[in-house]
Symmetry: C2
Subunit: 428 residues, 2 copies
């Protein structure tokens, strides 16, 4: 039975543009600072942000077991920890309150003044306090492209790749929401032909097009999560830009993996779209090339999602240039497999943990999810509308990622993650 | 001028055994659950635990700018965020209150009943809520041993090793205090000669002898910390056992580094010994083998610390067997260099972040900091007192690490991190 909040026939008394990412069928969750400098948890319909803290205080969630301050917090962690039953009840109630046929709030001017905000009246924050951030490496096309460029075109995939959803730990402290600018990192690099490293600004700053899922409290130390139960512990998804300094990465990454090449910044979109909202967009995962061990084999529902992804580069004072169109469904390893693998050794997963997909590259050259692949190490620069070229990202460029699902006339989107690259930090 | 709390001539009216790690010159910080099930921040002198929350409520910290609830918390993060000036003032005051010549608390029986606990009346907790956990790889002997075994004895150190304090991100969620047992992890491994991986319990569970430092809020996104300022942001040190599953590690770690081989558990000692308490034990760092880039060059004070380290294995129902004696001073890269490197790209460091040293192996075979090295991949098993042998760690073995400084008759120690390895987790 379809979820009530996903009813495609429902419309809202709030205005929603035809191509909006946020129809009443979406109801994502985020954290924002209001015009009164109050931090609250909210949702969004069309271009209207809705203060769930205020809505709760006014009694619109009566009957749902929620603590009084569950939405008056600076992160969604506690709400996410309440579990799927609560997420569903809240999402269903929001759909009812804003349904075209429901006049209660619609006709209550004083309540609307407290609850509703224009987007220019709020400032989006990180939606969760991230306990741990993991990044996977689950696109076969991306792993193949990187392996072809840096290792061996004939054996581009490493032997473990088709058996393991390869992943590594990232840095939580530098995960930032859309809109926060990033400085070009400095560090050690080994120039071509040199034997000694040099110090200076990275010359090869890149984006990586990713999505990420956010978990609820899942397991105790020692306890694996079975692959077919994994989605029970996934609250929703965001867009993620895994900023990367290719020259720093190349010199530092052996043998323990990327470190300073990645941990200067990771940008995410601020609205978490729930797995429930993505339900209509399930698709089959790619067929396994090799047999997978039983703990990674899924049964039942399709476990991948058809989410269109785009990346644009906008130089300062100029127009956007779309440089990549990809899709989340290209991921060889799906989110259920990623979470099952992550916990098979008993690693505990908590509310607010962030798990990135890895760069999502598709089969065609225009679907590659990084400048490294799109320009093939800079060999084929991309021409922009303003006449300039890009091998990698220039100072003062803004990188914008967008994502949306579309089916039978309903579009569920993620908005965007937009980040400007500033020059190297200078002490004031 | 020596710090007042470090005065070697001071004695306490609390009993302190001659060989105690915790004389009045130590004054470490930790978090414990009391007999009344209250969680509080405390310190320890001899075998007496001291409730700093209660001491503060009773007015013993009057005159020091502290919030009322600074010690009534389940982590030291806020206290650490108050900065070095506050840490020093509190440590000095504790030294005064428990000085043999101070009768105020000594003669106040009702206060003592509230403030003092026997060790068997409390339960030590994680001392900090760890935002991010980083693990370095800074012992040249360890990196050389591993490189000799797994790569090329003639080029055991990778080209970047002498230039970079190599590090990677670990998992915060599985960091546990001493005393919490760990289950043997399961996972994928590639048996010798096989082409397809198999699934099962790790056969090669190992310890890694490490120390770790804990930071305060240090920098904003984008801002590097100069190497000579790094210690200003380091609160103190703990012992760390970086549990490792060697067979899982070998199969998974290329190209993104260790993941499930490490993130099933990391154990730390519960008392944070402040950098101030370690002041008398500074020693020179090893002489650089190659020139180091300017951002890693330290000047002024000696930046390494002379801390004796030991590891014992205790089979169930049997005696302890010391298998390793090492020293923190062997680290090629010191903690100042590690923190400067970590932030050179602008990566933000926060209060409560944990930074492991990497396995601390010394120059002699009995100073190697892991079973992998001590038994040389299992080729030379270690004979235990009970007649059994160990290549790696067996189910129900307890691994105990200890550390202490000693100079001019004063001993400052870390206590221990003791962890039992349980068999594979079974769902009840």
């Amino acid at each position: 039975m379809p979820l009530s909040a996903n009813n495609p026939d429902r419309t809202s008394w709030l205005h929603v543009d035809k191509n909006s990412d946020f129809p009443i069928q979406n109801i994502p969750f985020g954290v924002f600072l209001t015009r009164d400098d109050i931090i609250t948890i909210g949702t969004r319909i069309g271009d209207t942000a809705i203060d769930l803290g205020a809505l709760h205080q006014l009694g619109y969630f009566d009957g749902i077991p929620l603590t009084d301050d569950i939405f008056l917090q600076d992160s969604l962690n506690d709400f996410i920890a309440d579990g799927r039953k609560t997420w569903r009840a809240v999402r269903d109630r929001i759909a009812e309150v804003f349904d075209s046929n429901n006049d209660t709030l619609k006709h209550n001017k004083s309540h609307k003044e407290i609850v509703l905000f224009r987007l220019d009246e709020i400032e989006m924050q990180l939606p969760v306090q991230i306990g741990d951030y993991t990044d996977f490496y689950s696109s076969m096309e991306h792993a193949t492209n990187v392996g072809t460029m840096f290792r061996d075109p004939d054996n581009a995939l490493l032997p473990n790749w088709l058996h393991i959803p390869v992943g590594y730990h990232g840095r939580s402290s530098s995960v930032i929401p859309s809109g926060i600018p990033v400085h070009r990192p400095q560090g050690q690099t080994l120039p071509n032909g040199a034997t000694e490293p040099v110090f200076g600004p990275s010359k090869l700053v890149d984006f990586e097009l990713e999505m990420a899922f956010i978990t609820t409290d899942a397991n105790d130390l020692g306890e694996p999560i079975p692959v077919d139960e994994a989605e029970e512990y996934i609250f929703g998804l965001v867009l993620l830009n895994d900023w990367s300094a290719r020259d720093i990465q190349k010199w530092e990454y052996v043998p323990l993996g990327p470190f300073l090449a990645k941990n200067f910044a990771t940008s995410i979109s601020p609205w978490i779209v729930t797995l429930d909202a993505l339900e209509p967009y399930r698709v089959e995962s790619p067929k396994p090339v090799k047999p997978q061990l039983p703990y990674l084999k899924t049964t039942g529902k399709k476990k991948s999602f058809d989410i269109n992804l785009e990346v644009s580069i906008q130089p300062e004072g100029s127009k956007e240039n779309m440089v990549c169109k990809s899709n989340f469904k290209y991921m060889y390893w799906n989110i259920s497999q990623q979470l099952a693998h992550h916990t098979i050794n008993g690693c505990p997963v908590n509310s607010g943990d962030l798990m990135g997909s890895g760069t999502i590259s598709g089969p065609t050259p225009d679907s590659y999810g990084s400048m490294l692949e799109l320009t093939w190490r800079g060999e084929n620069p991309i021409k922009l509308k303003d006449g300039t070229e890009r091998k990698f990202i220039n100072d003062n460029d803004t990188v914008i990622m967008r994502g949306y699902c579309e089916k039978d006339g309903t579009r569920i989107g993620f908005g965007e993650v937009s980040t400007k690259l500033l020059p190297v930090f200078k002490k004031k």
